[in-house]
């Protein structure tokens, strides 16, 4: 896994540096008052005047001690985790601040998707080609085809402006600090509602289809016929014998979605004013804030590899056939 990580970091480092421009080319640098000498000074300060391979060496050296470095663009905030200066001032890490927010939204979203998709998939499989199946498929694909930002803006207007039921953007109300615990929970819930529900609706189609096809396949297996022949009631046949097997491939999907959990959606985070990972990464790329870009890519690729590993392990745990295959 370590060589793979180094390979990934090398490729991403070079691709990032292939993009024209650096931190000194941001919009505010195009101010006639700002001199080229000061930009050169900045380049030297951040070692951007050195050859890319030297810069990569410096980065790798820091990474060896798990030091993700400091952002170029955000007053040299630490990229990953907080640091304390000599006066005891704590400077929070950028990923440290953004990751919990994105993780929470994505976990909630994934939970909602699964909670809805599994039953919908089962219904669609059991009533295959019936009106239930057709309407679920129709509903899913409408959700799948609607652009998320458009649905977001419509719902923001409808639920936030016209009806004032949900906050339009942000994570907390301005008076959040003065609320009691229960109101704080309510406040957070109402702010999270739209950003969590909208991606779940648009993400529903894939998982539902997956469950439906899995179920359809399993329901045609001989052991299901056997179970029915034994005289088991339909409920037991479907939920005890068929569903368990149909859900197996879902483990792979969930494993693969682990890296997705830490990568936020730029569009959703921009529209809902959520300071999450997607916006952090996007802004860092636009600003050519290399330490932040590299930090996120490294953590993302490490998690992808871990996610794959976990999926394999979970699969072996859930499916005796795989386990035996490994033992042999």
């Amino acid at each position: 896994m370590i060589p793979m990580l180094i390979g990934i970091s090398l490729i991403s480092f070079f691709i990032m540096h292939l993009a024209p421009g650096d931190i000194t080319n941001n919009e505010s640098a195009f101010n006639p008052k700002a001199s080229e000498e000061s930009r050169q000074k900045l380049r030297e300060m951040y070692n951007l005047d050195k050859p890319v391979i030297v810069q990569y060496g410096l980065w790798l050296k820091r990474m060896a001690t798990l030091d993700f470095g400091k952002s170029f663009a955000s007053h040299q905030k630490p990229v990953f985790w907080q640091t304390t200066d000599k006066d005891g001032n704590v400077s929070k890490g950028m990923i440290q601040q953004a990751l919990p927010i994105t993780l929470m939204i994505n976990l909630l979203g994934l939970t909602i998707t699964l909670v809805l998709a599994i039953p919908l998939g089962i219904i669609a499989a059991r009533k295959y080609q019936g009106w239930q199946d057709r309407s679920i498929t129709l509903f899913n694909f409408i959700g799948f085809s609607i652009p998320g930002f458009w649905l977001s803006l419509l719902l923001m207007y409808w639920l936030g402006v016209v009806n004032n039921w949900f906050p339009i953007s942000g994570l907390h109300s301005l008076n959040y600090d003065s609320l009691d615990t229960w109101d704080k929970i309510k406040d957070s819930f109402s702010h999270l509602f739209l950003p969590v529900v909208i991606p779940s609706i648009t993400g529903l189609a894939g998982i539902t289809l997956f469950v439906k096809n899995g179920m359809l396949e399993v329901l045609q297996q001989d052991y299901i016929t056997t179970a029915r022949a034994k005289g088991l009631n339909e409920h037991k046949v479907v939920y005890r014998h068929a569903l368990r097997n149909a859900l197996l491939p879902l483990i792979t999907i969930i494993g693969l979605s682990i890296p997705g959990l830490i990568g936020g959606s730029v569009i959703a985070e921009t529209i809902f004013a959520i300071p999450g990972m997607g916006k952090l990464f996007y802004d860092a790329v636009l600003m050519r804030d290399f330490p932040v870009v590299m930090g996120i890519l490294t953590i993302g690729s490490a998690l992808t590899l871990i996610g794959n590993l976990l999926a394999d392990v979970a699969y072996a745990w859930a499916d005796p056939r795989v386990r035996r295959g490994v033992a042999r």
Partner: protein, 548 residues
């Protein structure tokens, strides 16, 4: 394992269906009534990006100075008519040889933490901005100071090698920082940038990362007390979301684009009832610039022809919905630096065709595109990803086609645009904008010495007469004489036509009518010049805010 799928689905459908309830009744408050000026209340606005820090000499983005200008003072500032007046200083004197400026601070100034603010702080700030270790983009003006002294607590004296006319303007831009907080600190990493101590009307109360910054009144303010108690700036990156927040009455102020200003808000009575619209001429303009080192743009007849072939009014009407004006000099119209005798090139395609013919262009193969020496007149306009500039380019493309010039358009992401095209000079024509300071000095943009990669005369303009005027303008501190110099400069510039002025757009703002005391129409300095006098009468305040 009973999942009760039906129930789940039912709840979900219920959730969807439940959204048809009638909307809540709106309380009828008449925001048009007048109230006496009172203190208190909270003003909420929004910005698209979060400041990186609040030391504006380091954090060069506009989000930073928008906040820090409420917290820190400068020595001088511009009044509503754009004349200089004292901010921290009571008076200033320029020596007879025009090389020395003596500033006298107002007495008894204090920082928000009760330390006294003296000339030692000013000296410290100057030392910090020119320090080798500080990579401040704005250092160059201050590096020209040969000697700076603080002979007593209230006096600050700077001496230049030679008279430098933009000096006063530079001191109106440098925010004075507290020495007692920042001595021996690295300005690039100090925690002070996130919890500043200043001297202006407000101090930072709370910075909720990625969400909002809250400023509250500074009891020690150098210039008396502001009316509004709290300024909250929410960070909302998306403009549409900002506008929804404005419609829902969750923010009080936002900058608008022309469509929202002249179409959406006027069409909605419920918005008109609570929002007041302001327009003010900004200090920036959009232009189309030629790479003067490339043929055929080195030929002034070609530049004139293109200037005549473009209908600028069409761009103002079509792209800016009429919310812009046609300009003929690189200065804000109505200010003393703008030469009133100059008029923009009119739209005259026949004259354009004649000029192109004179320059040797003819359509010899009958394909509708002009040629010279067997080469078709065809070029690429590049611009950054800015919708208004892209739309302008499309209108220009069409007009130039009518006179036989083939134009392609390319929009490029900013960092690539600057480093790959502007810096290397690898372009034919650009559409860009200049946002300018209030001093008329534009040496960095037009002087022939400023053409190195990364400098601002990237179009390669070189006119000895203009060079001389720009040098003269920097040495002349007398405003009337300077005015003559810059009027002559603008005249030559217009004749040479190295760039085509497309338009100067209005800055458009919507402010909730609960905020009173705003000058309308906006004075030359814009509506923000007296923000400390804005007030929100008690009956019009938001209740959700008043209880904390």
């Amino acid at each position: 394992m009973s999942l009760l799928p039906r129930t789940k689905l039912f709840i979900f459908l219920l959730l969807l269906a439940g959204c048809n309830a009638p909307s809540k009744p709106t309380t009828a408050v008449n925001y048009d009534l007048n109230f006496a000026s009172t203190s208190g209340g909270t003003l909420i606005n929004a910005m698209t990006g979060e400041p990186s820090g609040l030391i504006s000499m380091i954090a060069s983005e506009s989000a930073s100075s928008a906040i820090s200008s409420n917290i820190f003072n400068t020595l001088l500032k511009y009044d509503k008519n754009l004349e200089l007046e004292g901010d921290l200083v009571e008076s200033w004197q320029i020596s007879a040889d025009q090389k020395t400026v003596r500033f006298k601070l107002k007495p008894n100034l204090k920082w928000a933490d009760n330390h006294s603010l003296t000339s030692a702080d000013v000296l410290f700030t100057w030392q910090a901005v020119i320090d080798e270790k500080t990579a401040s983009p704005y250092a160059s003006d201050f590096q020209l100071v040969k000697k700076a002294e603080a002979p007593d607590a209230l006096s600050f004296v700077v001496t230049y090698d030679q008279a430098y006319a933009p000096a006063l303007d530079s001191w109106a831009g440098l925010q004075i920082l507290p020495k007692h907080m920042l001595e021996n600190q690295d300005l690039h990493t100090t925690a002070f940038a996130r919890k500043p101590i200043g001297s202006n009307f407000y101090q930072l109360d709370k910075w909720a990362h990625g969400e909002h910054l809250k400023l509250s009144k500074n009891p020690n303010s150098a210039l008396g007390q502001a009316k509004i108690d709290h300024l909250i700036t929410r960070i909302i990156p998306d403009n549409s979301a900002q506008f929804l927040e404005l419609m829902a009455d969750n923010i009080d102020l936002m900058g608008l684009d022309p469509i929202k200003f002249s179409r959406i808000i006027p069409a909605r009575p419920e918005l008109q009832k609570k929002l007041a619209l302001y327009k003010e001429l900004g200090n920036s303009y959009t232009y189309m610039g030629f790479n003067l080192k490339h043929k055929p743009f080195d030929d002034v007849r070609v530049r004139h022809a293109i200037n005549y072939a473009i209908d600028k009014q069409e761009i103002i009407d079509g792209v800016y919905l009429g919310l812009g004006i046609n300009i003929a000099s690189p200065y804000k119209p109505g200010t003393r630096w703008s030469n009133p005798d100059l008029t923009p090139y009119p739209y005259n395609p026949d004259k354009a065709r004649a000029l192109l013919k004179e320059a040797g262009f003819t359509d010899s193969n009958g394909d509708g595109i002009l040629e010279r020496d067997g080469k078709a007149f065809s070029f690429e306009i590049i611009t950054n990803q800015n919708k208004e500039r892209e739309k302008s380019a499309v209108l220009i493309q069409r007009r130039l086609k009518e006179v036989g010039i083939d134009v392609r358009i390319r929009a490029i992401e900013w960092a690539s645009f600057i480093s790959r095209f502007i810096k290397t000079g690898d372009f034919d024509v650009v559409i860009l904008g200049w946002g300018l300071g209030l001093d008329p000095d534009q040496y960095n943009i037009w002087h022939s010495s400023q053409q190195a990669p990364g400098q601002f005369n990237f179009i390669g303009y070189n006119n000895p007469k203009v060079d001389q005027l720009l040098e003269q303008g920097r040495l002349e501190l007398d405003a009337d004489k300077r005015q003559e110099i810059y009027h002559a400069f603008a005249k030559t510039l217009l004749e040479d036509s190295p760039i085509i002025y497309l338009s100067a757009g209005y800055g458009l703002t919507a402010i909730h009518k609960r905020v009173k005391g705003i000058d309308n129409p906006a004075p030359p300095a814009g509506i923000g010049h007296n923000a400390e006098e804005w007030y929100i009468p008690q009956p019009l305040r938001r209740n959700e805010i008043s209880h904390h």
